[in-house]
Symmetry: C4
Subunit: 138 residues, 4 copies
């Protein structure tokens, strides 16, 4: 039977997991497909894994070909969790990333994490997929 004492005991033996990966990642090829057809919706995801026992605070910068970067987009990844961030949900002061425009992504994190980028393009009836592990700046 679990009482207060056994709970203390359980917490006492809880393993602390250190952060792994890097604090700075780059994805040069970002693009939100403007249209979808078929049963799936075109989208991109920035997939982050935080293996540590502490929360990770991400700070994203979005770079363009012809205008100033969007800076300081903040995202939290809880301890021992992954977060697959749809880029269409990101915004700066209510302004989202424009669709159909080439851009690039810089991810900074206060603790080491690992970042992968994937795109599903459903512009045509059948979907196409691409994925890369982001480039770590060491």
């Amino acid at each position: 039977m679990a009482g207060p004492f056994s709970r203390v005991h359980k917490e006492g033996k809880r393993q602390m997991h250190p952060a792994k990966g890097e604090k700075h990642w780059i994805i040069p090829d970002g693009y939100i497909p403007p249209t979808s057809s078929g049963s799936l919706t075109s989208h991109e995801s920035i997939c982050v894994l935080n293996v540590s026992s502490e929360e990770a605070l991400l700070n994203l910068t979005i770079f363009f070909e012809d205008r100033e970067p969007m800076e300081d987009i903040l995202v939290v990844v809880p301890p021992r969790r992954t977060k697959h961030i749809r880029t269409s949900t990101l915004n700066k002061g209510g302004t989202p990333i424009p669709v159909g425009v080439p851009y690039a992504i810089e991810v900074r994190s206060d603790i080491p994490v690992i970042v992968q980028y994937s795109r599903l393009d459903a512009t045509q009836a059948e979907n196409a997929l691409m994925s890369v592990v982001a480039y770590p700046i060491k």
Copy 2:
């Protein structure tokens, strides 16, 4: 004619292959597509190569967005063999990885190996492919 002596001789000259790669790999973007159509089945594979003359014992952790990780899923890769592990075959005490849910994969191995991750999405009639070499933690 091969007798005991020639066998000893053969073993004596057998080349020992050292392990190559890393012991710790991360795949942030895991996803088992829930449906298939057409002639192929949607699936993911964790592709591991063990170039060494010794068996590799893998220990996998599966991370989620909204629940505790599944830990200590064990897989053996024989010496001088590759193993392309279907993620749908992995389970912890009989519980498989849920389909249609974003997750992430951590692979630990007792000896260095090399890990790649590939996904075939056959949600629609035509298949889509993506692949990444996993991120090595050094």
Copy 3:
């Protein structure tokens, strides 16, 4: 109201961003699909991110299977910008990269940048995508 003084003030506090990444990148698998069908056009992009406050000057070499390399193709990436370079727009003295021919790409930059390569193949009615972060020579 912004006058000369406030402009000086603004420039005084402007953050200088250092260059990040590497100066030398390789993409072994280049290929411009010769035909397109459907609503999208087959193309490849060399996606470059320059996070620094200075312009990056790229020098590209194109390698072939059966002829001498095309050298000294120059491309500029402005400060704090990304550039997604369509390989079909590259040329040396008016001669473009031939379509339907396997080739490879070497990118040199005068300051560190980050390079990714993506291909959209629309040879058939539905598109296929692939992408890799280029290999950095350190």
Copy 4:
């Protein structure tokens, strides 16, 4: 007007290009799709770039899930050339890599090169693409 003297002069100033990359590369996920439909043929390519002024001699090992590796498959990449090697053309003593079977590829080279792996799957009417830069063993 170019005579013998000017030729000597030209050769005298010819730039020697050093080898770049690594001598040892791994691709864990190899697979030759057994069937094709539509206008393209399913295939895989091992894409190698040799930027140096000297020939590169590759030695490939093919690993399987359930049998001994195929060793010592040799391929030459000329100086300052790329070679996109169709895996279906590789063989050991006339025996090709079996189709429809998971395998893995180890590439050793006598001088540094850069290796990328790409697969076109045309099992169904529309093609799917995947590509990774191989994992370098340093």
